[in-house]
Amino acid sequence: MANFRDLALKYVLSEDEPAQRQIVEAAAKEIDSARANSTVVGNWAASVQQWISPASAGDDDVEDGEDGASGNILTRAKALSFLAGTLEALDRATLKTDQVLRLIGFFGAVFSYDHKAGITASAKALRQLYAMKNFRPDMAAKIIEDVCKLKEDFRLQTASTRLEIYELILSLVEDSSISSELQYHYGQSCGFVVDLLQLCQAERDPKNLMIWFKILAVILADYPQSPEVTEQIFKAFSAYFPISLRSSATPTAVTPDDLKGAVRSCFAAHQRLAPLAFPFLIQKLDQGDAITVAVKVDILKTIEACITQYEHPQNSVVPHMDKIWNSLKYEVRNGEVKETIDATLHVLRAIANKLNGSEPSGLKSYIDLVFKDCRDDLGSPTYTKQAGLLLVTVISANVRAYILENANLVGCIRQNLAQSKSPSHTKDLVLLLNSVLKERQKLIKTRKTEDEEQLKNETLTHLSSLFHEVYLPIWTKNISSPDTGQVDVLRQVVQGLDALVGQQVLRADGQVMLLCSRTTCSDICKLLTRILVKGLALSSNDNAATDSALEDDCVVALRNIVMNYGDGFPELMSGVRAEIRRRDWVTSSQYSLDALKDLVSRLAFIGCSEIPSNNALDVPSTRPYSPLQHFITLVAASLDLFPLAVPRDESVKEPLANSYLICVIHGAMLYFRDACAARHKPETLSARSSSDNNWLQEFEALPGDWLQQLDSADEATDEKLYSLTGDEPEVYRQFLRLSLFTLRCLYQRAASGTQPPWSDRILGQLANIAGLVVRSLDEKLQSLCNLAREAFNHFSAQTISPNKPRSELLTFGILEGLWPGAMVDLYKPGGVAETLLCDASDIGPPRAAIGAILANKHKGGPSTPDPESQTIKKVLEFWGNQIKEATTSTTTANPEAFTALNNIAMHIFAGAIARQDKNVANLVVPVIHEAISSEHANGEIVARSAGTLVRVGSSELLSSENHGVVRRLYKQWIYNILVKSLYRDVLPTADQDPARSGRHTTAILSIVSECPFKVYEEDLEPLSRLLITALNRPARGSEGLSSGLQTAASALQVLNEILANEPTTLEGHLEAVINGAVAVYGECSPKNKVSSSKSMVQCRKLVLQLLGALPQKFEERHLLSSSRKLQRMLALACGDPVRELRAVARQARANWEKLV
């Protein structure tokens, strides 16, 4: 006993929670070890007596404010919480039944006499006792009775105390064994509920309310009760509706939505509430404008929850159906707020779904009710849309509703279409018809097994006749010379046709097929194809509608149609081919060319942006199905049509029409790749970008016009292509195979062809296609097919000289997409890479790019003396010598020839720099340093092009997509070894030759302007001085205007970058920066006759951007002195001949105006 008393005392005196826990654990251990010996338990219970007895006598008489009394209350509360804590720590099986009963009696009694101190602890203790193994359900009634004795004092308790009690009650009522005991004890009168309602009627705390509503929901759902009790409970929770939450200084975790959800679950707890809930909610809704949108949505969601959760809809929902409908229909018919309209439609849909499971008459009478009210509205243009929305929502709720009434609705729409009041009325009606079709598509797609029987017996004549009886007549009526309203109707018709062809039906044998017959599908295709090729027949004088919305809709519709009706695409293509062939493309107008350009990108989109499905039709197709069929058809047609125009006379400008045919092929590949990517994960596809077979070898056995043969064949000639379904990832592999075949075909034709039609423009396009195809293949397949060799052979039997200028573009295309691992053969000593790279004779842009690729994409590691590294070392040495020679030789310089040569050298260096090749430091950097220090005229050219060294690494050429080897910090690296040492030579104080320091400045700025800010962040001080010198350099004319401007532009670019990242660096130099920038602007001024050049415009833009950003970065005091001058200048700049610059100038002017 003494032991427990000590523990109790320690507990009461302790303020520390962990210490208190230790104490109660010690007490619990004591009881556990004595196996709940009654003496021990008695002692334990009596240990708190000293705090209980005296207080209980005098507590009620003592005022709260008195110290002694409040002290008593506190210690008493603590003493009781010692007992509760011990119970919590006690083993659940220790206490015996009689002990549990006695303890319940003890703690229950606290609710009657100790309202100030004991409630929290007692509630906690009772919860622990409920959890004891020897707790018997009949004890629950006693607990509830005791708790209810609190009566009025309940609301005086703190919120956390009340929370304990709520949690106690919730755990009791949720227990199924207690529930049956309570039902037995109280019967239908549910007396304890009435007491609870009285006890908790004034609750306001959100956290407590959440549990209180849960208790009510449980009682409503699990306890049979008399209608009177139900009504009382209903009153208790409906009084809170609609519930909201005031913002409070001490926010709880409960949100208004939680509270709304809790009240809603009370409403929806049991169908017994239906006669009370529906009239109540509808009455709230009918208050009209008096309620806010949020409340309205809350009411609607609550009605929806009731409908969805009430069972026996025949008795719960049906009796209130009329009232709900009559109240809700106006929310849609006259409603304007999207949220309420959506919530209302959800309710209406919920009713239809609820009635779906009941007797058919219920659903039918509901839909009839909706029809009766909406039918007339369809005839009125003002309400067509809303009525349509209501009808479609209701009938598309489930398959049964749809099958019951869709024919009726379609009939109704057709009737109104015949008497349409205006084009916009027609549009709304067609839109409604389209929705009926689209909803049907959704229902079929998401059908369940139980729906299938109904779908098999569906009547379909009213749908299958839609094209000829509804859509076509409307189309014919409006197509002749459509105005805006009629175009809207036509657009709806197009979308309707799209939905119509997509309709599937379930045949009696369970097979799915298209609703429309083959002839109907074909007619629809022809109709829309006419719109597609219309542009070819028009000329610029026809003043065709500028709005291409109808054509765009046709394109999307055709894409979906040919996806469903596979034979549509060959039909479309044969129509388009005939139209294209009919015209002369040698001397075609720009207008026709634009039309052709639109047409080709649309064809690629229609045919290849979706993988066609294999749908059954009334008359089976003569062609075998393949998911790649459209791709084959499109590519074969383009290859067949090429070249469209071969001018007899060389002087005629190159016909662009040929290029557009190549565009189709490129577009088809891009779209088909996307279509595959949309269906499968990237890793699934990348696993399919390989093969164990050498595809090129397989192609040897195929005829040159294989694709054309595949396109025209009536039977499957390639098993791999025709055994696939659209969903298999294998489609991607076959697509790559066909793409490679196409590429091979084009390369072979181009390599042996002459110009025209194989112009540089087209060869460039082929290179792009080659890049796309080759980079999609994995390293293994690239090596297997030896594509590195084909880069130079161009898929021909005989080797083509890599130096043939026209073939360089083709070579570039393949090299661009190769993996380093697939290029090993090229780097053998004396091999192609070495021969090609160590050749300074033939020069052109592709050569530079090829150089960059070859210098970059090889497998060689940083340390091993592998052949690749050796080759590249030789190459770097070769070009280093070339540069050295050109900048030191005494022969007269030919700047143009050296510029081209230097360009190749720089690209090769850049390729090596991007991969941080170890040879760069000793073979390239010294050469560049020497070249830009030399007085030779070529030194200036080297300095100007130094930016190339950095730029190439971040260009598309060496992107990761093209498998370039680019180190992350290569810019930092080259900056450190190449640029840093140059700073000391260019500072204005240095005793230097000004021309030489000028070249150094040019080189530094050329490189720095290509680097991110972080790279040169450390050198801002010398750099900013250098920038100002560059801007204010008076001798710009002497170096040639272009060169001087380039340096100025680089300086401006860097200044803009510094301004964005570290403006304070410029604070001391602002005036110099502004003066320099204004001077540059003056030189590039629009008044200058040669100012049209792009570089000058660029310079002006950079100046305006720089000046415009200053007021945002600096305080007024730094800028005021220049403000007037700049505002004048910027006002003039607002009249710049280039539109984009005017916009920049206006922005800058506005920024400066804010200063004053």
Partner: protein
């Protein structure tokens, strides 16, 4: 402002897509469903192999390339783009959406050349008794003064017959001193600034 005080409580409003824009004029910039890859597949002389076509290169000034930097003189559409996003002082819509500013009612004379030009903007108030016509006119004037170079003379007037007192309003808007005086008024300046918030 209360609903009852509106001069025109229910004006006709155009959607943004119905307003005249440069894109509609320029057929080349198509934005249909099939235009996703137009930039990639359109035939060009240059490509990734031709690195000299990048911006920092200065060797090829005559390149086709960057269309944004082409020379295009200031035209009526540009003036329209400047003033149509000004908000109406009464409605949460722009002057373009309310058809107060219309493209055909903007005239630049002489249409080309660097000498002195005149921009004439004729406004159409939504109702002919609109009391805010002067404020709208002032806003248009201020916007153009801040955005056009000094060689442009700005003339803002009410379209003939569109306003009951168009003579008076025009007189007010044409009087430089009255305009300057109006801009001294803080409250008016606040209204104007509010109206221009929607201008980019």
């Amino acid at each position: 402002m209360e609903k009852a005080a509106l001069d025109n409580a229910d004006p006709t409003i155009l959607s943004v897509s119905q307003l005249p824009s440069r894109r509609q004029k320029n057929g080349a910039a198509r934005h249909g469903p099939a235009s996703k890859y137009d930039h990639l597949i359109s035939p060009r002389q240059s490509g990734p192999w031709d690195l000299s076509s990048s911006v920092s290169s200065w060797s090829s000034d005559e390149d086709e390339g960057d269309e944004d930097l082409a020379i295009e003189p200031l035209d009526e559409q540009e003036i329209y783009d400047l003033i149509s996003p000004i908000s109406d002082p009464e409605h949460p819509h722009t002057l373009g959406q309310l058809s107060v500013v219309n493209l055909p009612d903007i005239h630049i004379t002489p249409s080309r050349g660097n000498t002195l030009n005149t921009v004439l903007v004729e406004l159409t108030p939504t109702v002919n008794h609109c009391s805010l016509a002067t404020v709208i006119g002032l806003a248009v004037r201020v916007r153009l003064e801040k955005a056009l170079p000094p060689n442009f003379r700005i003339d803002v007037r009410m379209k003939e017959g569109s306003h009951a007192q168009d003579d008076q309003v025009n007189k007010q808007l044409g009087d430089k001193e009255r305009v300057a005086a109006a801009l001294e008024n803080d409250q008016l300046t606040r209204v104007l600034n509010k109206m221009m918030e929607t201008c980019a």
